[in-house]
C-alpha cells in the first residue's frame, strides 16, 4: 500500500514503524490496535481488530421470541439492558404489540439510569486515567486542592482534611509496593498535564464515583429485580404497580426512585461536570481524535415521550444522519429500508457469497471465516502483525447508504444541535463558552468525552421529567404495566419481521428479527461498537476508530497513552460488536421445551 487516500478522505501511509497494542485495556471485551508511525511518531495508518466472537445469534435460531431478550441481554453486562430493550421492541414490532404508557415510562427511566451510571463509570474508571496521573496526587497540597474544589463546585466533600485523608490512603497504597490495577502504567509521562491538586481531586472522585454508581442502578433493581441484567418483558414490563395492595411497586419504592434521581442529578452536576471542565481546561491544546465526527454521524433517536409513537418528533432525544459535515441537513434514517443500513464482510472474519455487496440485517448472513492475509506476520495462533489488506477483525463493517458512520454521545449531540434542540444547544454552547472554544473543537477526542458528560447530566435531569410524567399517569388512574393480549403464540402471524432501534449509551443499536411459525428464524444485531470499531469496506472506507487515530502524535512510541485516550473516548464494547447469524449455516439442535 504505502500511501493512499480513502474514499472517505483519509490519507493512509503504512511505511513507518508498526506499533501493536493488544490488549487495549479499560474497555469491555477484547480489542487490538495496530498503527504505523512516521519519523515524528505521528500516526499515519490505523487498524482496528475485534478479537472475539461468541455466536449468540446462531444460538437464538429456533427459540421462543419471548425468551430472546434474556439471551441478547448477555451480549453485554456493561451496557446491561440495552440489548434486552432492543429485543423486546423488535419482537413487539414484529407481532404488532402496543405497550402501556407506564411500560414506556419505566423503560425510559431504566435506560436513562443506564446512561447516567454507564457514562459516570466510563469517565472515572475507564477513561480518567488517560488524563489523570494517580501518582502525582501524592505531591498535591490538600489545602490547595480544597480551594480548587470549592472554586468549581458546591459539593460538600471538599475540605482540606478530606483531601488529606484521601492522599494518605493513596500514599499507603503506593508505599505498599503493590500497585494493583495501577501497575506498570504511564505515570510521570509528559503527556499528563494536570497540576497535582487536580490529580488529587480526580482521584478522590474516582473513589466517590465508584461508590455512588451503585445507587443509580437501584432503579433497575426496583423495576427489573436486579442489576446487572434486570428483567424485561415482551408486551411491557414484568413489574406491577400495587398502589393499594401488598405485592408490587408501591409508594415506598417510588420514593426511593425519586430520591435516587435527585441524588444522581446532584452528583453529576456537582462532581462529574465540574471535573470534566477542570480536566478539559488543561488539555484544550490536545485537539486530536476527530476522525469521522466532523463528517458522518448517525443516531436513531430514542426515549419516546408517548408510548408506541416512533416519529422523531416524539423522541426526547431525536436522531437522524449527518453526511459530509453538513449540519444544515439532518437526513431521515429508515432502519427497514434495505438500501440504507448494510453490513460488509470483505475485511471481516466472515464470508458472504458475494463480498463486494452489503446485506441489510433482515437478510444478514454470517459465516465465520478466520484467516490471515498474505502480508500478516506470525502464525495463525501467534499473530505478530495483521494484514489489513485482507480479513482482519471479528467486527463487520456496517454502512449507512455506503458511508462509514460514527455513533455515540457526540453523534447524538451534534445531530440534536443541528436539529436545533434548545436544551442540547444551551448545554453545548455553555460548555464551549466556559472553555473558550469554537464549535469545531467538538470534533475531537475531548469533544466526544465532553458530549458524554453533558449527556450524562441531560439523562439524570430527564429521569425527573419521565418520573413526573409516570406519576401523573398513575394519578390519572392508569396503572397497567403490560399488554398481554398477544402473549400466546396462537395469536401471532405465521411469519413476521420486526426491528427494535435503541440509542444505547455507546450509540445506535438495532436488533432485527424474523419470526416464523412462532420461532426465531433469523436474528441480527448491529451495535454501536460495530459502527465505531468497523474495519475497512470493499470501497476502502475506514471506520471511526481508525479514522480518529490518524494524525495523532505520540509522546513515546512505546507508551500507547494517546491511542488509549482516543479509543476510550468512544467507550469501546467488543462483546457487543461481534455477532453472527447463518440462515443457511449450521443447523440448530432441536430445542426441547419441557
Amino acid at each position: 500500500m504505502s500511501e493512499t487516500v480513502t474514499p472517505n478522505g483519509f490519507r493512509l501511509d503504512d511505511s513507518g514503524q508498526r506499533v501493536v497494542v493488544d490488549p487495549i485495556c479499560r474497555i469491555e471485551g477484547h480489542l487490538r490496535i495496530e498503527v504505523n508511525l512516521d519519523d515524528s511518531n505521528v500516526i499515519q495508518n490505523a487498524v482496528s481488530t475485534g478479537n472475539m466472537w461468541r455466536g449468540l445469534e446462531v444460538i437464538l435460531k429456533g427459540r421462543d421470541p419471548r425468551d430472546a431478550w434474556a439471551f441478547v441481554e448477555r451480549i453485554c453486562g456493561v451496557c446491561t439492558g440495552v440489548h434486552a430493550l432492543s429485543s423486546v421492541r423488535a419482537v413487539e414490532d414484529a407481532l404488532g404489540i402496543q405497550i402501556p404508557e407506564n411500560a414506556n415510562h419505566i423503560r425510559n427511566l431504566m435506560m436513562l439510569a443506564q446512561y447516567t451510571q454507564d457514562h459516570l463509570v466510563h469517565f472515572y474508571h475507564l477513561h480518567a486515567l488517560d488524563w489523570v496521573d494517580v501518582v502525582s496526587a501524592l505531591d498535591a497540597d490538600p489545602k490547595a486542592t480544597s480551594v480548587l474544589m470549592q472554586s468549581i463546585s458546591s459539593w460538600p466533600k471538599s475540605s482540606p482534611g478530606y483531601f488529606r485523608d484521601i492522599q494518605a490512603r493513596v500514599k499507603r497504597f503506593v508505599e505498599s509496593g503493590q500497585l494493583g490495577p495501577f501497575s506498570n502504567a504511564y505515570w510521570g509521562s509528559p503527556a499528563y498535564k494536570l497540576p497535582a491538586e487536580a490529580n488529587l481531586m480526580a482521584v478522590a472522585h474516582y473513589l466517590e464515583a465508584l461508590d455512588f454508581q451503585r445507587e443509580i442502578v437501584k432503579i433497575h433493581t426496583i423495576f427489573g429485580g436486579r442489576n446487572p441484567h434486570p428483567n424485561w418483558l415482551v408486551g411491557g414490563m414484568p413489574c406491577s404497580f400495587s398502589l393499594n395492595e401488598t405485592g408490587g411497586i408501591n409508594m415506598e419504592w417510588l420514593n426511593l426512585v425519586s430520591s435516587i434521581i435527585d441524588r444522581s442529578i446532584e452528583f453529576i452536576d456537582q462532581v462529574y461536570i465540574p471535573d470534566l471542565k477542570a480536566i478539559a481546561s488543561f488539555y484544550t491544546e490536545w485537539t486530536y481524535g476527530g476522525g469521522l465526527s466532523s463528517k458522518n454521524l448517525l443516531s436513531y433517536g430514542d426515549f419516546p415521550n408517548v408510548a408506541n409513537d416512533w416519529s422523531q418528533e416524539n423522541m426526547l432525544l431525536p436522531g437522524g444522519a449527518i453526511i459530509g459535515g453538513d449540519l444544515s441537513t439532518v437526513h431521515e434514517v429508515d432502519v427497514r429500508d434495505p438500501e440504507q443500513i448494510q453490513e460488509f464482510v470483505n475485511h471481516s472474519w466472515y464470508t458472504y457469497p458475494d463480498e463486494s455487496k452489503g446485506l441489510h440485517p433482515w437478510d444478514g448472513i454470517t459465516e465465520p471465516r478466520f484467516e490471515l492475509g498474505p502480508n500478516a506476520k506470525g502464525t495463525k495462533t501467534n499473530i505478530e502483525q495483521l494484514d489489513e489488506g485482507a480479513k482482519y477483525s471479528f467486527v463487520k463493517a456496517p454502512r449507512w447508504r455506503g458511508h462509514a458512520m460514527e455513533v455515540g454521545p457526540l453523534a447524538r449531540y451534534v445531530i440534536a444541535y443541528a436539529r436545533g434542540e434548545e436544551e442540547i444547544k444551551a448545554q453545548v454552547d455553555g460548555l464551549l463558552r466556559d472553555l473558550g472554544l469554537p464549535l469545531e473543537a467538538l470534533f475531537s477526542t475531548l469533544g466526544r468525552t465532553a458530549a458524554r458528560g453533558l449527556e450524562c447530566s441531560w439523562a439524570a435531569h430527564k429521569m425527573r421529567t419521565v418520573f413526573d410524567n409516570m406519576m401523573a399517569n398513575l394519578k390519572a388512574g392508569d396503572t397497567a404495566t403490560a399488554n398481554m393480549d398477544n402473549w400466546e403464540p396462537d395469536t401471532w402471524p405465521a411469519e413476521a419481521r420486526g426491528v427494535g432501534p435503541v440509542e444505547a449509551p455507546r450509540g445506535a443499536l438495532g436488533h432485527w428479527i424474523h419470526v416464523k411459525d412462532t420461532r426465531i428464524e433469523n436474528y441480527q444485531a448491529v451495535v454501536p461498537t460495530t459502527w465505531n470499531a468497523s474495519p475497512r469496506d470493499p470501497e476502502g472506507n475506514i471506520g471511526a476508530y481508525e479514522a480518529a487515530l490518524l494524525g495523532t502524535p505520540m509522546a513515546n512510541a512505546d507508551q500507547p497513552l494517546e491511542i488509549l485516550r482516543t479509543l476510550h473516548s468512544f467507550d469501546p464494547c467488543l462483546a457487543c460488536s461481534t455477532h453472527v447469524m447463518s440462515p443457511d449455516g449450521e443447523e440448530l439442535a432441536t430445542v426441547k421445551v419441557r
Partner: protein, 363 residues
Amino acid sequence: MSIQQTFYEAMREHGITRRSFLKFCSLTAAGLGMGPEFAGKIAHALETKPRTPVIWLHGLECTCCTESFIRSGHPLAADVILSMISLDYDDTIMAAAGHQAEEILEQTVEKYDGNFILACEGNPPLNEDGMYCIQAGKPYIEKLRHMADHCKAIIAWGSCASWGCVQAAKPNPTRAVPIHKVITDKPIIKVPGCPPIAEVMTGVITYMLTFDRFPELDRQGRPKMFYSQRLHDKCYRRPHFDAGQFVERFDDEGARKGYCLYKVGCKGPTTYNACSTVEWNGGLSWPVKSGHGCLGCAEDNFWDRGSFYSAVTNLNVPGGVEATADKVGAVLAGAAAVGVAAHAAASVISHTKDSNKGDSSHE
C-alpha cells in the same frame, strides 16, 4: 490451602537474595518517581503485610461479573481492591495496556509463583484453534493455561466460567467450555450466576482472606454458604405457592397481590442461589420480588431447559429438602385446604401439559 505469604517470603523461596529484594524495592520506588526513603517503606510493606495478588482474566463473556462486583456494598469494591487484595491484572480496569499489561502476567509468575489467586470471568472457546477469543495475538486458552499452571487456586466467576453460560447454549458455535473442563489440576471454586450477586462475590473473597482457605464447597464446587438452598425454599412468595395462589399472567390481579410466579415460568424451585436471602443491590430486591420469575441463571445449562415462561414440571430434586411441590403444598396447607392445593397443583400440571403441546408443535 494457605493463601497468605509475604512477598519477601515468596521471593526468598525462589532463591532471591535480600540484596536483590532491596534492589527491587529501590527500582519500584524510582519507577514511581520517588526517593530512597520510599524504597525502605516499600520493603517494609512487602516483608510484613502483603495483599494477596489476584490475576483476573476475561475470556468469552459480557463483563457482567465485573459490573456486579463493583456494586458490592459490604465490603465496597474500592476497599477490596485498595486494601484487601492486590488486583495486579484485570484488563477491564487496569491502567496499563498492550505489552505493559501483559508484562504484569510474567512478573506475577516470577514473583508469586504458586501464591496468587486466578480469577476467571468468561470461558475459553476451543473451536478454530481457540482463536474465537484472541488476546495479544494468541488464543485465550494459552493465557488461561499458563496462568493456571502457576496459580494457587482458581475462582470461576459467574455461569460462563462455572458452566459455560450463553455462548455454550446449543449449538455452542465456538465450543466454549467452563474452566474445570480445561484446568484439572488446581482447586476451583465456582461462583455461578449471570451475574453472581455482588456481595456473594466479595463474600467469597473475604472468606478466603479471613480464613486462609476456600469456604466449604458442595459436590459441584460451589460455596455451600450461598448455594445450598433453592430460591423457592426461602422465597417470600412461598406462602402463596403453598396456598395455591398464582399469577396467571403478567400484571394481573395476582401479580399486583404478589402471588407466586410458578405458573409464569419461575425457575426458583430448581435454582440454587442466594437471591431470596442475600437479595440484590444492597438487599433491595431480587427478580422474583420485582415480578418476573427466576431465569435459573446460576444453574448449569439454564439456557437449554425450555422457555423462561414455561412452568417447571419436575420439582423432585435429588438431595433436596422436599419431595414434590404439590405434596408440600398439600401438607403445609393442611387438611382444610387440601382441596385448594390439589386444585392448584392440578391446574399447574394441566397448564404445563397444554403449553408443552403448544411448544412441541412448533419444533
